[in-house]
Amino acid sequence: MSQKYDAIIIGGGHNGLTTAAYLARAGRKVLVLERRHVLGGAAVTEEIFPGFKFSVASYVVSLLRPEIIRELDLARHGLEILPLDGTFTPMPDGNYLWRTNDHGQTRREIARHSKVDAEAYDEYSQAMIEMGRFVKPIMAMTPPDPTRPGLAGIREMIGLVNRFRRLPPRDRYNQLQLMTMSAVDFLDQWFETDVLKATMSASGIIGTFLGVRSPGTAYVLLHHYMGEIDGAFRSWGLSRGGTGMVSNAIASAARAAGADIRTETAVAKIIVSNGTATGVILENGDYILGGVVASSVDPRLTFIKMTGVEHLPEDFVEDINRYKFRGSSGKVNLALDALPNFTSLPGAGPHLRGAMSISPSIDYMERAYDDAKYGRFSRRPYMDIVIPSLTDPSVAPSGKHVMSCFVQYAPYHLKDGTWDEQKEAFGDTVINTIAEHAPNIKDIILHRQVVTPLDLEREWGLSEGNIFQGELTLEQLFFLRPAPGWASYRTPVRNLYMCGSATHPGGGIMAAPGRNAAAAILRATGRGTGDGRTSDASTSTRRRDPWSLPV
């Protein structure tokens, strides 16, 4: 193996590919290494059953940063976002709540439940847009180190404070609450309709091990609201051909810029010599040299498994070991012979084209969480269901459908038994829960795939099955993500960078970590000329014996 790269990216998920694309466009010689046979990581499309293509893990797109779509020209590389219109929440009493992107229609629908809430909905939507505007620039920021901020860091922090102070008082008030309150407490201030609050609060808990009443979940509401504010696409969307097409488009952009991408190439170790990363060793024993190594896999894999604690400061290892994953969700993917028929709104109406949310009440959400707290999957889980084949017929044989059910809570750590033993029981629980609202579901299932948190860990390398590569909780956000003092995409190992969802601003098909990391790498290694002789890389090539193999 004589080939030498400027940058080796570990993991071919959307973030790794994004870092690769940006580095390649800056003229760097880039190699992406993906362990699986297919690119995309959790943003992947796979034909699990013949003719049925599933977005096996991540299933909707809304957070993908518009600047990335623009800069990488993803549309040209095949990305097409199809609108996913509305959220339909069936209720056990035969009623339902159906919000759509048509503001007027949604207002009328909410007014059916509460006139007061319909009024508040306008105000709420406006407030969330303002909040989103405030938070948006933070997404593209490299978090400063608050304990040793330095001039640039102080400037950034003062800038943040000043922007906060310039907000109108009401927005300031909302912002403060949003950063600290629970989703339910926050929504309680606006709305009285239980089912509305339950459904809205659901986005506050996704990927966390928190309940809708736990402080800090209001922020995640905003995190999920971001997609709706950029004008690129006003709400949640599906990627034509499944979410894997997002990754494929980014990969195509990266390749077009000259990046090499290899699948079925698992990295075993990161080569560290004298505190500097100089390349990787593959599981097959081959090694590849690189000026920079950027890991898009999570910190546990990156540091504990691939780097080795012997190369890391003790404090840092302690922080990484303490970093919380605690996956709390699973996925059930169904191949259907026909469409589900909801008791509360029968027929194949447009409500099936949006998201279907099983979140009939706040108590329902809380009880689902209570089960998880004590180590079992929810007996009646929260679910977010989509039927992509209604919007994008290419993913299923004619007349048939694919249905994707995101399910929470499914705690990685079970009190009794293992996930392999519980897997089918979990799948049954999900089907039974759907059947309470759409009784025909059991008759129309052709195939069923159950993805447990353990599967997410084994197959996708997501430690403890956390879909965001670590909980999105306040103590693991911004300058604390993934570890205090290491939020700048750098690591204690020179030339080793992090570029995955475990870095600021976190998970979801956002690709912002990948882009921010690329910027950090380019800053640190100089805006190179493209001949591969960047400052870091040239240092390591000058050395006679640049690395030694860790055994």
């Binding site: 040793r148 629970s182 809380e366």
Partner: protein, 525 residues
């Protein structure tokens, strides 16, 4: 009949009202305190409290209290379990470390580090809390200097503790204690301190913040469990004496009905008795909701302010049970630590137990198995009970202010039964020595003691209800939407606990405002 006009009327003779009155009277303002109950003290009384934090240096500097005899238990807290285990938290940390090392060297060593790290972190939190919260719209130089002091303390922390502080605040205390300790009972005892009074379970994010808050006023990890000869009431009595000596007048059994406004400003108060008293300013030591929503006539406050006040989260979850006992209660777990009874006792074996107790509250029910903090004040103060008899004071959590079914009038007995059931597991046979039981429900705390939502801190200690945002953003500087009305209860910065600081800081603010507009109160039109 009418009282002479005064400069300032203080509503409520709890510790904050009394501190404020003393300060204002001593600054030369004629001050009248109106208390709806027949005695002074509010929650700082033996019926409601069995311990208090050390007197804060700011308070010590401001007020001289005579005749206080502090009682400092050797073992401020002992966690006991039904299986007979006990973990004593000594005032002397070295002894705690030694006691812990018997069962776990790891926990013992961690505890030693823990004491130091939380003390450092608490000092920073304390530096922020003891000063007036800065106004984010127009920060004054003094505000910035005060914050600068806190920032310097922050920068002086070692990097790990600094980051710890940033990380800990938003964390669930269950995760926080998991990071430090291995022993379930040890974890539960520490976690419980952060939960007392809060509508939070150990797995609720932000519950570590409430713990850091407690530490800021008393850095002992389990609380120093201080009290006074004569109990906590002795503290309020001393404050009342000091206030009177400074020239303030205190009227008890004088419930305020309305704050009277003229020309959009406070002009006086009217009492339930029909009497009206004119004043230049009102400092309310009742909860902010009670003050702004009940005592001000509706329609006189801007709708936004009403909405923000209504949205202040104050959902009380703590009930108080007072038992009169025929004999000294026996806890088998304390056989090896007889002096434990002079401190407090924690009952609640593990973090999941605390969380389960909280689960009930989420659904509007009192916990069938509450966790308890117990004290037997008569062990160190013979004046509290006849010879050979004892009084036991118990905090029981969770007892939500708003029950989904039933009312507190009916549910008090059920709550007592739950408390007795739990008590029986750690002190078998205790039911036989109970001669009298009193249950103070969150409803009583709200209606009788003027605590918003029956919440012992008048408003939840949460990130969005602290500092400049306490009780609500825009009301952070002890002012209110009404000219001449000031908020100085636990619902104001820095918050709850028997510290007197909200009253002290509010009084300083009122004094400076009144000095700017020197005029006499005129009789009400």
């Amino acid at each position: 009949m009418s009282h002479d006009p005064v400069d300032v009327i203080v509503i409520g003779a709890g510790h904050n009202g009394l501190v404020a009155a003393e300060q204002l009277a001593r600054a030369g303002f004629s001050t009248l305190v109106l208390e709806q109950r027949a005695t002074v003290g509010g929650a700082a009384s033996n019926a409601l409290s069995h311990s208090l934090p050390p007197m804060h240096p700011a308070l010590t500097r401001a007020i001289t209290l005579n005749g206080l005899e502090w009682v400092r238990p050797d073992i401020p807290l002992t966690a006991v379990s039904a299986s007979g285990r006990a973990i004593p938290f000594y005032a002397d940390h070295a002894k705690t470390v030694e006691a812990l090392s018997v069962s776990s060297e790891v926990d013992a060593e961690r505890y030693r580090r823990f004491v130091g790290e939380v003390r450092q972190a608490a000092a920073v939190v304390g530096a922020v809390l003891e000063k007036r919260a800065p106004d984010i719209d127009a920060p004054a130089i003094t505000d910035m200097l005060a914050l600068g002091g806190a920032a310097r303390k922050f920068r002086a922390l070692d990097r790990r503790t600094a980051y710890g502080l940033l990380r800990w605040g938003p964390m669930p205390i269950a995760d926080f204690v998991d990071e430090w300790f291995t022993d379930d009972l040890l974890k539960a005892a520490i976690a419980a301190r952060g939960l007392l009074g809060a509508m939070l379970g150990p797995r609720s994010a932000g519950s570590t913040l409430t713990y850091l808050y407690q530490l800021a006023f008393d850095p002992h990890p389990a609380g120093s469990g201080l009290t006074l000869t004569g109990g906590v009431s002795a503290f309020s009595d001393a404050l009342a004496k000091a206030a009177t000596a400074a020239g303030a007048k205190i009227l008890v059994s004088a419930a305020v009905r309305r704050i009277v406004m003229e020309d959009d400003a406070v002009a006086g108060v009217s009492l339930e008795s029909g009497e009206t008293i004119a004043c230049r300013a009102v400092l309310s030591a009742a909860g902010p909701k009670r003050t702004l929503l009940d005592l001000i006539e509706p329609g006189l406050i801007p709708p936004d302010a009403v909405r923000h006040t209504q949205n202040i989260r104050a959902r009380g979850v703590t009930a108080k049970v007072n038992l009169s006992l025929d004999a000294l209660p026996v806890f088998p777990a304390l056989a090896a630590h007889p002096s434990s009874l002079r401190g407090r006792i924690h009952v609640g074996p593990d973090v999941d137990y605390l969380e389960r107790a909280f689960d009930a509250a989420k659904y509007g029910q009192a916990s069938p198995e509450p966790w308890l903090e117990i004290a037997v004040p008569s062990t160190h103060d013979a004046t509290l009970a006849p010879a050979g008899k004892h009084v036991m004071s118990i905090y029981a959590q969770y007892a939500p202010r708003t029950l989904r079914s039933g009312t507190w009038k009916d549910e008090g007995a059920a709550l007592l039964a739950s408390v007795m059931r739990v008590l029986e597991t750690v002190s078998p046979g205790i039911a036989q020595i109970v001669v009298h039981a009193e249950v103070i429900t969150p409803e009583d705390l709200e209606l009788t003691y003027g605590m918003d939502g029956g919440h012992i801190h008048h408003a939840e200690h949460a990130l969005d209800q602290m500092l400049v945002a306490r009780p609500a953003l825009g009301m952070g500087g002890y002012g209110s939407p009404v000219r001449g009305l000031y908020l100085g209860s636990a619902g104001a910065h820095p918050g709850g606990g028997i510290t007197g600081l909200p009253g002290l800081l509010a009084a300083q603010h009122v004094a400076s405002e009144l000095k700017r507009t020197p005029q006499k109160a005129s009789a009400l039109r």
